[in-house]
């Protein structure tokens, strides 16, 4: 028999969106019992690695209309415009709340919150706490969450299945990593806030925990994954590790140079106009990729591939230490370069998934009682390309929205008959027990994962073409078969990280399936989906979201309308 616990709201994931959802639910109703289930201690969540800032209008020269327009243009008109409007309205309120909760936002001399420039944003609207914004936001949220007595944490619990009966979700099955036991954590509503799945790709800014868990959990229960073909390559990752060097480097005035020392975003036409280094990420990543392809990349002794240079020297040591101290620390520790004296070698690196669990503007999925927010969700704020600094704010705005709507929903809901849900958890316990230490074919988790990484990099890079995407579709299908032959060496129940890695790999293979399936069907170039064989945007045939559904016979796809009505789609030029 599995251990059964009962709550009102069960939140899966303890990063920015999950903590904000928990606080929102707790503030609305202090009598609620809220479970916060995370495979790591919340302060380890990947929100911690975000660097540059969070967007919300703050200055007299700015407006909601401008933030909205910048966002919809950045999305290449695939963002839902009602969602964008709601987002920009809520954004300043959310960042103000965080200020009241103690977030150490950087300040102007007069004591007001300081803002900085960011890519694709038409004025300074990115709030920052030097260059560790995700870290400070996450710690502020986590520490603030501790004052609410009704948030029960399940730290280091890995959710293996949503408990769904008919079309309602009433909890999760979670593996207690410490003991190896699977538990049923029941609730009247479940919110998925597990982040993205950057570890599906080999060269990524993402931490080890970013394995698309929430996307896979929802996908397996029949919820669509939306706009999965759109994955963001951040222009500036460090060689070898892919460690993120924030866009704030360019917001503060940094240059991108080729091997001739030329500011190619100024001297050549990459569509970014006078924005130059402050163009949107999809365009800057393509520009760097083209410079390297044209033979103007920078070589680094001992490192494969070619790079561009990110030059901060002209900013001077004082400004770098005041605004970008973490960038200096990271560059020195992980690239052996001091940006005060030398340019930083960088290249585009997988950073963020615009797609995710299909939700409506209330963060609700197609299953009753199931919500999703943050990177794991696709509420359609970001469309085909996210603007830098919109995603931290998105975690707050839609984390809060999910918490509020889940709380509203459960007032009329009950768990009902527990039996079917507990039985599912028991079946999960048996499945996990069978997987732990199982001996099958000769496949290893690390090797299957590596081959998935390679297939995804070759098929879904900065530039894609039909042939390479089609190849990735078939390769991923074959790799999914190989997963069935994985053997596991570790049979211990205690902190079995090989078992967790296997469960995570299964999740990533679901994400990979959905990404490749959606990518091959979109025969146009829009935002981050740049097809060499279909170079232009095609609004006649492709101004729609793509949905991918799981089925035993392989993925099934559908289209979904984009919500327009405020800004007319136009050619995206800067």
């Amino acid at each position: 028999m599995v251990d059964v616990s009962r709550h009102d709201v069960v939140i899966v994931g303890g990063g920015g969106a999950g903590l904000r959802a928990a606080i929102a639910a707790s503030e609305l109703d202090p009598e609620l019992s809220i479970a916060l289930v995370s495979k790591v201690y919340p302060m380890r969540s990947h929100t911690v690695s975000a660097e540059g800032g969070a967007a919300a209008i703050a200055r007299d020269d700015d407006s909601l209309e401008m933030h909205g327009y910048d966002t919809v243009k950045g999305s290449d008109f695939l963002g839902d415009q009602d969602v964008i409007q709601y987002f920009v309205e809520q954004a300043p309120k959310e960042l103000t709340r965080l200020e009241h909760w103690g977030c150490p936002w950087s300040r102007n001399e007069d004591g007001s919150v300081s803002t900085r420039a960011f890519g694709g944003m038409s004025t300074k609207r990115t709030w920052f706490a030097t260059d560790k914004v995700g870290f400070h936001m996450l710690h502020t949220l986590f520490q603030t969450s501790m004052k609410f007595g009704n948030i029960d944490r399940y730290d280091e619990h890995f959710v293996t299945k949503l408990l769904v009966d008919g079309d309602v979700c009433r909890g999760v099955a979670a593996l207690d990593i410490r003991t190896g036991e699977v538990k049923a954590i029941l609730g009247k509503a479940v919110i998925l806030t597990t982040g993205g799945g950057g570890k599906v790709w080999p060269f990524t800014t993402n931490g080890n925990i970013k394995t698309g868990d929430g996307m896979s959990l929802a996908y397996r229960e029949g919820v669509a994954l939306k706009d999965m073909e759109f994955v963001q390559y951040h222009p500036t990752g460090l060689p070898g590790t892919g460690i993120l060097i924030t866009e704030a480097t360019r917001g503060e005035g940094g240059y991108l140079l080729n091997n001739e020392g030329e500011r190619f975003l100024i001297t050549r036409d990459y569509g970014v106009g006078t924005k130059a280094e402050l163009g949107p990420r999809d365009m800057i990543s393509r520009a760097i990729t083209q410079e390297i392809a044209a033979g103007r990349g920078v070589e680094i002794p001992g490192k494969l591939g070619r790079y561009a240079h990110l030059d901060l020297r002209h900013l001077g040591e004082e400004k770098i230490m005041a605004r970008l101290p973490f960038v200096r620390e990271l560059s020195k520790a992980y690239a052996n370069v001091d940006p005060v004296h030398e340019p930083i070698p960088i290249r585009p690196v997988l950073h963020y998934m615009m797609g995710g669990v299909d939700t409506d503007i209330d963060a609700k999925t197609s299953i009753d009682g199931l919500y999703a927010a943050g990177e794991t969700a696709c509420v359609s704020l970001n469309g085909a390309n996210r603007l830098g600094s919109n995603s931290l704010t998105e975690c707050l705005v839609f984390g809060a929205r999910a918490g509020e709507h889940a709380t509203g929903y459960i007032k009329g809901a009950s768990v009902g008959e527990e039996g079917p849900f507990v039985q599912q958890a028991e079946a999960e316990a048996a499945r996990v027990d069978a997987l732990r230490g199982r001996q099958r074919g000769g496949e290893k988790v690390s090797k299957v994962r590596e081959d998935m990484n390679t297939a995804m990099e070759e098929g879904t890079g900065v530039y894609r073409e039909q042939a390479s995407m089609a190849k990735a579709v078939s390769e991923i299908a074959a790799i999914r078969q190989r997963f069935e032959q994985v053997s596991l060496d570790d049979s211990s129940k205690v902190f079995n990280t090989e078992l967790i890695a296997a469960l995570e790999l299964a999740n990533m293979l679901d994400v990979a399936e959905a990404v490749t399936c959606a990518a091959v069907l979109r025969k146009e170039s829009r935002g981050a989906h740049a097809c060499s064989d279909f170079e232009t945007r095609n609004d006649t045939e492709y101004l729609h979201h793509s949905l991918v559904f799981h089925s035993p016979d392989g993925p099934r796809s559908e289209k979904k309308d984009v919500t327009l009505g405020i800004w007319e789609p136009e050619e995206r030029k800067y």
Partner: protein, 250 residues
């Protein structure tokens, strides 16, 4: 690619399902010269021994997961360069914590200490969002900013001689965090936290060995925070007899 180097890793292993006491296991591997210690452990896990258990995630020195003892010193392994060591490297779990398995230590005790110092803004009356942001000068921010940089990596607890002797000691990271909120111009809860600081296991348990600040990978200086908190407590305690406190805070 650069020349690979041969290294011997002696790693502490412990599986409570099978072992009475911890043992060591030796791995002979080839490493890239620019690897960190964590890269080598991940290499062992992926290619040599998938049963090795350790925590890690961001591999950029900000999530705080991968603290371990390397050649006897507490280190954040994702930032700890292989080039700092010779041919033989010993990796063990952090000292002063119970071991869950292999290199994974028990954090529950710390999480309780962490909550004990009330690490959130306490005010008599919460501000409404409509009132906008609080004014805080760059100098006021500087009063606490350094103490807000802790990544909870636990290196300071592993290094602290008081933690090893006094089980009730709240410890460096948690005390520094409490002090961070006391120093924040937006907070009104210092007198509440100071009572905790003055209590058993509080700031006066600290012997000022300064080991915590020396091992801190983020230059948070918990030792400095605790000395400041001691002074603040003496003043707070003295003035409590003559100054009426403000209303209740939460």
């Amino acid at each position: 690619m650069s020349q690979k180097l041969k290294k011997t890793f002696i790693v502490t292993r412990f599986d409570p399902d099978k072992d009475e006491v911890p043992k060591t296991q030796t791995y002979e591997i080839e490493v890239e010269p620019d690897w960190k210690i964590l890269d080598a452990l991940n290499h062992i896990k992926d290619t040599v021994d998938p049963t090795l258990s350790h925590r890690w995630s961001c591999r950029m020195a900000v999530c705080g997961s991968c603290g371990m003892t390397v050649n006897g010193e507490p280190k954040l392994t994702c930032k700890d360069p292989m080039s700092d060591y010779g041919d033989t490297i010993e990796v063990a779990p952090l000292a002063n914590f119970p071991v869950v398995r292999d290199l994974v230590v028990e954090l529950e005790g710390f999480m309780e200490r962490f909550q004990e110092v009330k690490p959130w803004i306490m005010v008599a009356k919460e501000r409404a969002v409509e009132e906008g942001t609080t004014q805080q000068s760059p100098d006021e921010l500087a009063d606490f900013k350094q103490f807000s940089m802790c990544i909870n990596c636990m290196l300071c607890y592993a290094a602290c001689p008081v933690v090893s002797n006094e089980p009730d000691f709240i410890g460096p990271a948690a005390l520094a965090l409490g002090h961070r909120y006391n120093q924040d111009s937006r907070d009104e809860g210092a007198h509440v936290r100071n009572e905790i600081f003055r209590g058993e296991g509080g700031v006066f348990s600290c012997s000022f060995a300064n080991e915590c600040s020396e091992v801190c990978p983020k230059s948070v200086n918990p030792s400095g925070a605790i000395q400041q908190a001691k002074l603040g407590n003496v003043i707070d305690w003295a003035t409590s007899f003559v100054v009426k406190r403000g209303g209740d805070v939460s």
